[in-house]
Assembly symmetry: D2
Homo-oligomer: 342 residues x 4
């Protein structure tokens, strides 16, 4: 079987490293470009020491010279929107891991990202296979979801679509790799370790992204609040989804069965047998989203837990899943590895 040519733009960061880690063993892919302006000419193992045996060097080609079937853009927001149009013009299909093309309402983007969008005319498919699988199949541009967004919407969809709740509080706990490869005060080991840091308590820019996606379902006006916390974990996002059940005659078992049925054909959403509680350790390094621990208290509070690896299902793994759908590969190709537990 012939392989498709892949370009990874901005391959020096963690999502770029993950794309290489996973694509190197993908049966249908040839990694043709891994770009980095700053690290041009260096072995990828200089930055990604797990890739010691991988024979790839960073390059820095002109955007118009990139000749690839699919381009993964792992550039930061703002930078991505400048280059994506060129890749599309080159005839590549593009999967953008930044926030630049995730919003259908450009004002939301400009408000929350505090930046002018220079290509509001370009439309993308929001790359959540569980929501948009058919649209992804034919898309030329995929906006890969934000890491928090993936765990948030997968934990919410069944109850929102079925109008069982009208307000959701997402209390999310994220590993530090979510902050990226560049050292900052908030990723400094002595202050991250043995600590928990809430941040962007009611104003994280993934909030409007979650709201937009969930309001395509059910009543269309579910309220959503979102509070992220930095936890001393390398990878992973655990989302504790709190809501209030609107109906009296619905049991925990009903809700569990609703989730199990909703996701029964999804290759990467695991509604856990026996409603077990998801753990970050169970999904570490894998593309799975675990859902479980569904509970209801005597004051109608409903809790649903989801767990993902922020760099895999929350970023690079989901991007590859989208690629697999776009090119009619086995949807799990390159993504079969199970979580690294312990």
């Amino acid at each position: 079987m012939s392989k498709i040519d892949v370009a990874i733009i901005g391959a020096s960061g963690y999502t770029g490293g993950e794309l290489m880690r996973l694509l190197i063993n993908h049966p249908n892919v040839n990694i043709k470009y891994v770009t980095s302006r700053k690290n041009k000419g260096e072995d990828v193992s200089n930055l990604h020491p797990n890739l010691e045996d991988v024979d790839l060097k960073f390059s820095n080609p002109n955007p118009e010279d990139i000749d690839a079937d699919v381009v993964f853009s792992a550039l930061p927001h703002g930078a991505s929107m400048k280059l994506v149009p060129q890749y599309l013009e080159n005839g590549s299909r593009v999967i953008d891991l930044s926030g630049d093309f995730r919003f259908s309402n450009i004002e939301d983007y400009e408000k929350w990202y505090n930046i002018k969008h220079i290509h509001p005319e370009i439309e993308a498919v929001f790359g959540s296979p569980e929501i948009n699988r058919e649209k992804i199949r034919d898309a030329t541009l995929i906006a890969n979801p934000g890491c928090f967004v993936t765990g948030a919407i997968l934990s919410s969809l069944p109850i929102v679509e079925n109008e069982l709740v009208d307000r959701i509080i997402l209390d999310s706990k994220s590993g530090v790799s979510g902050a990226g490869v560049n050292p900052t005060a908030s990723s400094h080991y002595p202050t991250c370790a043995d600590n928990i840091k809430p941040y962007s308590i009611t104003n994280h820019r993934h909030t409007p992204e979650i709201r937009e996606q969930l309001r395509n379902f059910g009543s269309g006006n579910v309220k959503v609040s979102f509070t992220p916390h930095l936890v001393p974990v390398i990878r992973g996002i655990l989302t504790t989804n709190h809501s209030f059940l609107l109906k009296d005659d619905v049991s925990v078992d009903d809700i569990y069965n609703l989730y199990a049925e909703y996701y029964k054909d999804e290759p990467f959403v695991q509604v856990l047998k026996d409603n077990k509680i998801p753990l970050l350790a169970s999904v570490r390094g894998s593309n799975n989203c675990q859902i479980g621990g569904i509970s209801l208290d005597d004051e109608d509070q409903l809790v649903v837990i989801s767990a993902i690896d922020n760099l895999v299902k929350g970023a690079s793994g989901q991007a590859i899943q989208n690629m697999n759908i776009m090119f009619n590969f086995d949807e799990t190709a390159g993504l079969k590895n199970v979580g690294l537990y312990p």
Copy 2:
């Protein structure tokens, strides 16, 4: 100045160790007994290696022979209620760190702890200085609050008393020392580290304790949900307190000022200057409760964060604070050390 004699019953565990760590430098205290049935005759440093220079051995006297001004009972629930009556009869004042005497409603205790209470007639003062300082002064028996309870009620009191909210969701993150000194599957390093584990998602036994305390304030019927998470942290409980503001004309600043005013005379509650966000690392080893990060979103969701060290303000430090109040010592005696940061 003469010193009071102190007994620490069940001194082999973490709360017993913390009592020693702090009392060893308390100017008004003589540690007379540190008991452990299993470790009788051993140096305390065998179990608490930080106490290498402390010249104390575990003993196992008969309960009726304990002659002390104050007895700290660090026994597990169920065991404590069997012995506390004897200590009281001996003429000691007692500070009980277990859950045995925390409930005014004995049915609640028996339901949530799933055990028959053998001394329902004994009344205790709930040992929260911020709520009950005057009653503590004259108490003979103090029921020291649960670790989660302390962070939960301190983050809630001002808004509950002022009826600004009618439902609170407490999403708490606890260090592993909260599970005690005995190794179990849930405290096993390979599965705790780099992981987050929600547990007792809607049925933790601290839930009714929080509810009872908070319903003494405001409308008396605030709804309270509580979900604890085990995080890869040694010490500390960070509580993210989510609620929904009932009044339109209240700003974040108003709420911040309300907290600052409410706790302005409290020696161990720090409403952080500039509404900074509390961190577990800031209170590590200290008796402080930090409150801050107060935020309000455009859908009326209010968030308040509190941070304590579960073994200090959440247990042994608060017990010593109670002792200081009971014996008219400086309330901060033995508790002046600031947090160990980083």
Copy 3:
């Protein structure tokens, strides 16, 4: 291509879990039995939550009924020697992950393991592919090396074989998963985290195993000391190999080149380009052994660093590598995944 039938005996522990994690994606293998006396009938995901989608249940067949091409015995030492003879009699080839068959000198075994060996007559091939690849090919019984032993001998072989040193000090740092799946005081999170624990400082039972292997090379009487440390890491063994160079005219570059040449055909030993320093994070989850950081000071001290994942190259991965050699599979089959970094 037809697949071989595999049995994993004692599959409830970490090495059993790793065998499943890796074999599930092995192209030439059918997992026929995963045994556990205690967990008979349970889904493997009850103990290994990363294996949620793996459709295997623990069973507990009679040893004489195990009909498999290869049996991995992940039983503890002492237990393994009782059952291995039966598996051999059944006609299976056996890879034993315990210490029971690692010593050619049975007195050494009995002294260091403090147990009587009941089958001293059974001979095994020591399962280090880098030492014994050809013998492994035809072996019926493989004694898979101890976790510390693998990192120790790979960091030592070139300088011992070439008699550049006559004494080696191995200062090893091991992740906590090396202590197994059962919770103990030494694996308790509150005391493992943010701590380092030296243990078995000069009397760890891997010492004689390392000595036996290394004394098959060079002068045959290299002195070897070994001190392990428990570090707050889930997986991995980093070995700092200290020795004293006996020859004056040998440079660091010479030694680096010696290692690079020695291992140039080994699929899983990576002598790092540019003599980079190995990291546990680079090999996490992979079967690689990284070697590098080779340094020499002005007092003739030589340092060599090696890093492995204790559960993979230090146990289950190396066992699979041995199986691949025994059955003439691609030596890297099932072991192609690169390290999980970060």
Copy 4:
């Protein structure tokens, strides 16, 4: 009792923070200046969130205007030597925490620090109380030892002075706070956590400092090699001291007794009862150095373990101990807190 005035120069970093944490409760000290060029005018709690209740602001006075009994210089090397002469001229006694005045041989300094010394004429007392207590008493300038140096020399002195060994290998494991408050690639949580990083394998600049101090004892020419490792720990240095016993008739007990006797009057060196193994967790936050785990194998290898908190006995605590000696205070004043375990 009147208090002395203290200045802390460069108080924004971790050693400055620790000086404040400890001095705030020192009975004989008034903190008069805490300086920071960059943070002038800010509350110290902005950088040291554990100091929320401490009413101190950073200032930036002219060096000639600093009027204090003692000046702690917590500036980086290079910067410190420029200012220390002025503080001495002002009439202050100075305790310098940098490396600038630690070497008696200025060529060593200039070689290992790769910088020209601008005040080679200024002499300091090396601030190790266990070596130089009497000289410290009258010193005007103290060169506070390097963090690794303290654990290294305390673990070595008795065997070097008694010429029991002629070569020592120091394999040290350091917490990440040793790298300081500024985020760098090597302190980035995602790569520090769950990892071990050897660095400066044979060329760390603490090597010559250790050699100079130890060669004042015994034969005067003990060989010393030193390899540091970064471990996922916030605070602490554990040193594994490997050597080879030169005498046949010396037992482990003899060596243990030698250490116990050598340090019996030292307030902060704990040769552990029963030769227990030191742990970082036992000294966390305290000024203690624990020594123990002394072991001897059948090939004459001797191992001694020491543990300190790098920010306390390894820096700020030892500086305060030096101040206590200089001003005839109780040597333990301000340093009585025991380790934070767990």
